[in-house]
């Protein structure tokens, strides 16, 4: 995380998002499905499909953010375990020592990822809801992927609330929330049943995009990924700066320089 990281990714993101908006509206074709006799069929979405580019990109980055928050929460808790419990002997180097030496960094990454995940999740949910109104004529239905995303998003908002109001032990509590949330979301997915969301995977929407759409879609994803990186890095840096300032202030108070 050198100094120019944020400006470089922010500029890339700005240029990429501008280009992808152009590509989505002027380059990518309208989406419609035809029956064998050449008539329009029920899967035609026309202009409504345009929201898919932003919606799916944000949902993908939401998953990335949640995964990185979960992994760094686990690493943060590992860095807090007693040295004799995990790594035998004082000469132990390698992964465990690296994890332990960067304890607060894992916490910063987890917190920054969740902050960004809340924003991206809100956009994914809202844009999905708008799409659902056009395609299914409801703003919301109790469909599995919607339910699980909403619950995941609620856990994330709870995480931010705890982080804000729980004081000095917030880092541990939120790390626990991230891990429990990951386990819980599997059960939610099992619980809610049948899926009517447009499919993903090898036979899904993204894999079967038309040639004109595919380029615009991946350009959008890449631009928002740059935006995502810029946001996370700046959040990590500002959290670290906040902590350093607090520690300096405490030291100044201890030394009697500040009052």
């Amino acid at each position: 995380m050198k100094k120019p990281t944020i400006p470089v990714f922010a500029v890339l993101a700005a240029a990429g998002i501008a280009t992808s908006i152009y590509a989505i509206f002027f380059h990518a074709p309208l989406q419609y499905g035809l029956n064998e006799d050449g008539k329009l069929n029920g899967s035609s979405l026309f202009f409504n499909q345009k929201i898919f580019y932003f919606h799916t990109a944000h949902a993908m980055l939401l998953i990335l953010a949640v995964a990185s928050a979960g992994v760094s929460s686990i690493l943060f808790l590992l860095s807090r375990t007693a040295p004799d419990a995990a790594a035998p002997g004082p000469e132990s180097r390698g992964a465990m020592a690296f994890i332990r030496a960067h304890g607060s960094m894992w916490d910063d990454i987890a917190s920054a990822s969740v902050d960004v995940a809340v924003a991206f999740g809100a956009i994914a949910l809202l844009s999905g809801s708008i799409w659902a109104k056009a395609a299914w004529d409801v703003w919301w239905n109790g469909e599995p992927r919607l339910t699980i995303t909403l619950l995941l998003w609620l856990v994330l908002v709870g995480y931010v609330v705890v982080r804000r109001f729980a004081g000095p032990s917030a880092d541990r509590i939120t790390a626990g929330m991230a891990i429990f949330g990951g386990v819980s979301s599997y059960f939610v997915y099992t619980m809610v049943g049948k899926d009517s969301h447009p499919a993903s995977g090898t036979n899904g929407v993204v894999a079967t995009l038309g040639p004109g759409m595919k380029g615009a879609f991946w350009l959008t994803v890449a631009s928002f990924a740059c935006w995502y990186i810029a946001l996370v890095v700046s959040r990590v840096q500002s959290t670290r700066a906040e902590r350093e300032l607090r520690e300096l202030r405490e030291r100044g108070l201890d030394l009697g320089v500040l009052q």
Binding site: A166, G176, F180, S184, M191
Partner: protein, 252 residues
Amino acid sequence: MSLARRREPAPTGAGAGAGAGAGGRVSSLVRHAARIAWKDLRIELRSREILYTMAFFGALLVVIFAIAFPLDMRAVRGSLPGMLWTAIAFTGTIGLGRAFDRERENDTMRALLLAPVPRLAVFLGKAIATALMVLAVAVICAPLLAVFLNVALFAHPLPLVLIVVLGAIGVAVTGSVFAATLLKVRSRDVLLPVILYPLLIPLFGAGTKCTAALIADPANLEGAWYWIQFLGIYDAAFLVVSVWIFESLVIE
């Protein structure tokens, strides 16, 4: 409080045969956990503070539900499972908060963590005591619901008891982890449900679906057993995660 009472012989029903090796370690863990649970329960049996307040609050909830919802048979069949599990959720968080407040008021949590027993035993003991208290409230609320709303809730007692026991265990296990870490936090009363409810949604979902299957006419026993298994697996997974992360969450 706990330090003074520790020296009394532990009146536990746990296997006291402390042999050597891993078997001995497990049985001593169980013994310590049972002793801590018994400590909590004995304090509770002497003051009856949490039990009475939780039970009264649960009974009040039932009365409010009975007044607030329509009482015709079809509507009640649909909403009774939700009422039962809402009561368990609300009283559970109140009980959890109070059970851990007790350790905070006397600053005994530190003593408990410093005690020469595995921290795992501290966690398990707390969770066992909480689960028993949640169960006690459910024992009061469920018959009240059946009486007020005139539903044959106990037509199939065994699955109902099983799902409620599993639900109480799940609430107590996850709740104990977070109530213990929230001990020093000022707004812990608000934050505990904020943290717990989203994580416990599968539990409440499985509980309501199982109860709904049991009171349906005719009862769908197959569905009920599916949700009991689901909740059993959920409890096992959360217990493993809790055991794994409890220590690194509570150390300062």
